[in-house]
Amino acid sequence: MSTAASRELMLGFYTTMVRINEADKAIQRSLSAGELQFQYYPAGGQEAIPAGIAPLLSREDYSVITYRCIHDIVAKGTPLTEIMAEMYGKRAGTSKGKGGPMHLSDPHSGLMVTTGIVGAGLPIANGLALASQLMRSGRVTVVNFGDGATSTGAFHEALNLAAVWKLPVLFVCQNNQYGEYTAIPEYTLTRDFSKRASAYEMRGAQVDGTDPVAVHAAAKDALERARRGEGPTLLEAVCHRLQGHAFGSDTAHMDKAALEAAKQVAPVPRFRARLLDGKVATEAELAAIEAAARQEVDAAIAFAKEAPPPAVEDLYTDVFATPDVIPELDRRPPQRAAGSAAPPAGTRKLTYGAAITDALDVALGRDPKVVMMGEDIADPAGGVVKATYGLSSRHGRDRVRPTPIAETAIVGAAIGAALAGMKPVAEIMINDFLEVCMDQVSNHAAKLRYMSGGRTAVPLTIRTVTAGFVGSFGAQHSQSLEAWLAHTPGLKVVYPSTPFEAKGLLLACIDDPDPCIVFESMRCYFGQGPVPEGHYTIPLGVADIKRPGKDLTLISWGWPVLECLGAAGELAKEGIDAEVLDLRSVVPLDRPALLESVARTRRAIVVHAAVEFAGFGAEIATLLHQALHGNLAKPVARVGARYTSVPFSQALEPLHFPTAARVVDAARALVR
C-alpha cells in the first residue's frame, strides 16, 4: 500500500467519500419518506473505489458506469444539484429528467454513459478509448461495473477487444460479493476476478476496494500505463455491499456474519479513524468536511424539489437530433419529384457492391473522423462480399479495423467512438447477427441521446447485409429485420435497392447525427447502375418512384423492389399500369410520398422481404387506411414473406419470399 499520498490527497479522498455517503443517504431518506418512488441501488461499502480513482482523472477523461451509480457520479464531478434534479425527474437534471436514476449522463464531467444493463458499459468504454487512441488525445476511459457483470458475454467480448487493440481503458470490477440477490459461490466458481484478465493477456490486479489509498495506488499504475499506450488493465476492487440489492430489499440473501463484519469496517468511518489516528486531520477539520457535504446535499435536494419538471414539449425532443423525422410528428412537405433522384446521364456504371466500397472510400478520404470496424473487413479478405476490399490498404488498419467475431464488442465500440465525436461505420456481416447485439443497438445506440436529455449523441452507421432470396443461406442469414429496428425509437433504418442509392444513402448515414442501420441486399450486390463519382448524399426519408403508373402503387424497399419492377412489367402486358414506389428508408418514413402516390392510384400493395405477419407493411397499410380511407378502391394488400423460417431448399425458398408472381396475383385481385 502506498503511503506517499499527500495530506491533500487523503483529505480529498475523505471529502469525496463523505459527499457520496451524504448523497446516498439523502436519496434513501427521500425514498423512506415516500417522496421519491423508484428502484434505488445504494452504494454503501463502495465509496472508496471512485474516491481513490477520482484524483487521477480530469474532466477530459471518460467514465462509463452502471446503475449502482451514485458513488461513481459524485466522484466524477457531476454537480449534486443536477444529480438530485435527475433523481426527482426534473428538467434541471443531468438528462432533463428523461433518464432518471439509472441513466445519468454528464459529458461536461466526462461521465458519458450510465447503463441499466449489466455488463453493457464495457464494450462502449472500448469505443471511447478507441477514439482517444485514434485522436491521440491522451484521454483514458474508466468503466465501472459490478462482479455480476463478469458473467456476461459483453464483459468477455470487451476485455478481449481492449487487449487486442491495446486500448487506454481501465476496467474496474467493483466486487461487492453479490450479483443482485445471488452470492458469488452460487453464480461463479471464480474467486479472483482479476485473474480473468490473464485469459486475454491483459494485466489484472486485485485491490482492497474499501481503502481509497490502495485503490488510488493501483489505479494510478494502471492509468499511467494506459496513458503511455501500454493497454488496458482489469482492476478488481474487493469490497462488501452494506445493504440489500436495492432500497427496501431485505438482506436475507446475504451472509449475516460477513455483512456484520463489513459494517464494522465500513469504508467511511474506518478511513475517518485512520485520518485521526495518523494525525492527518483534526476532528474539527473532518467535522467541517462532513458539515459542508451535508449542506451541499441538502441544498441540492432543496433545489431539486423546487425545480420545474420537464415541459410537455420535452417528450419528443432528443429522440433524434431534430424531431421532424419522428414518424408520428412527421409533417415534412413532399421532397420528391418523380425522376429527380436519378443520377445524371452518362455517369459511369458500378455494381451495388462497388458503389458501397466507393462510398466508404470517399467517406474515409474526406473525413478523418470516419473509422470502420467489423469482421473480416480488412485486406486481404476485404469483407465477405468484398465490400471493403482495398480500403484497409488505402486508409490503414487503424481506420479499417478487423475485429474478433464479437458483435456486441463491435457495436459497443462503434457507439463509444460515436459518443466521443467520431463517425464510426460498423459492419454486422449479416443482419441476422444483429440479434446477437440487439442490446447495444436497441438499448444503447437508439436510446443514449434520449436518456441523456440530448447531452450525448450516437452518430454511428451500421452496415449489414440481408442474404435473402439468393439461395443457399437458409434461416439464419436471410431474414430482413427492419421492423425490429423501426420499433425502437431513435434508430434510422435505411434500405437501398440500387447502386446509386447504396452510395448516396450510405454517405448520408455517415454524416447523419443519429444512429443509422443500412440494410444491404445481397441480391442487389452484383446488379449494375450509374453511380456518380465523389461525394454526394441522398436525403434520408425521401422515397423514389422507380416506375410511374396510374392503376396501383407497389410500395417496397431493398431487393423486393426488383420483384415489384418485374411484376409491373408483367402487369403492363395485361394493361395494368403499376407504379413502383421505393421508400429507401422506413425510418424516416416518407409519408407525403406514400399519400401522394396512393391518393392518385387508389390501390396499394406493400411488398417486403420480411415476414408479412407483424411486418412493417402493417404500419404502412394502417397509415394509408387512416389517411385515405374514403378514397381507396380496395383495402391495402400486403405481400411479405410467409410465416416460416427461411427455408434452405430451392424448392421452398421461392415459396417463402415475395416474388413477382405473387405480386402480380395480388395486383390482379386488387384491380379487378
Binding site: Q28, S32, Q39, A246, F247, G248, A252
Partner: protein, 85 residues
C-alpha cells in the same frame, strides 16, 4: 421555524403497489433521530424496518395493521429548528 417531513408509504420493491404497516416501532409523539427505525412495513414476502428520514417529533397518521398504497400518508415528523442529533 419548524420543518415538517411527510411520511408516505415508500416504494420498496420493483412490483410493490401497496404495503402493510405492521407495527409502529416509535410511538406517537416520540422524539426520533434520523435513521431511527419508525415502523415495520410488510410487502409481498418480506418485511422492512423503515428508517426515519428526519429528526423531530413523530406523529402517527396510519394505523398498525392497515394496508396502504404506495404514496399514502402514514405520518409526519416535525423538526424544530435545532433538531435533536
Amino acid at each position: 421555524m419548524s420543518m415538517t417531513t411527510t411520511l408516505r408509504i415508500p416504494k420498496a420493491a420493483v412490483s410493490m403497489q401497496e404495503g402493510t404497516l405492521v407495527t409502529w416501532l416509535a410511538t406517537d409523539g416520540a422524539v426520533v433521530r434520523e435513521g431511527d427505525p419508525l415502523y415495520t412495513l410488510e410487502i409481498e414476502k418480506s418485511t422492512l424496518d423503515v428508517e426515519s428520514p428526519a429528526a423531530g417529533v413523530l406523529r402517527h397518521v396510519g394505523v398498525a395493521g392497515a394496508t396502504y398504497k404506495v404514496g399514502d400518508v402514514i405520518g409526519e415528523i416535525t423538526s424544530p429548528e435545532a433538531a435533536p442529533e
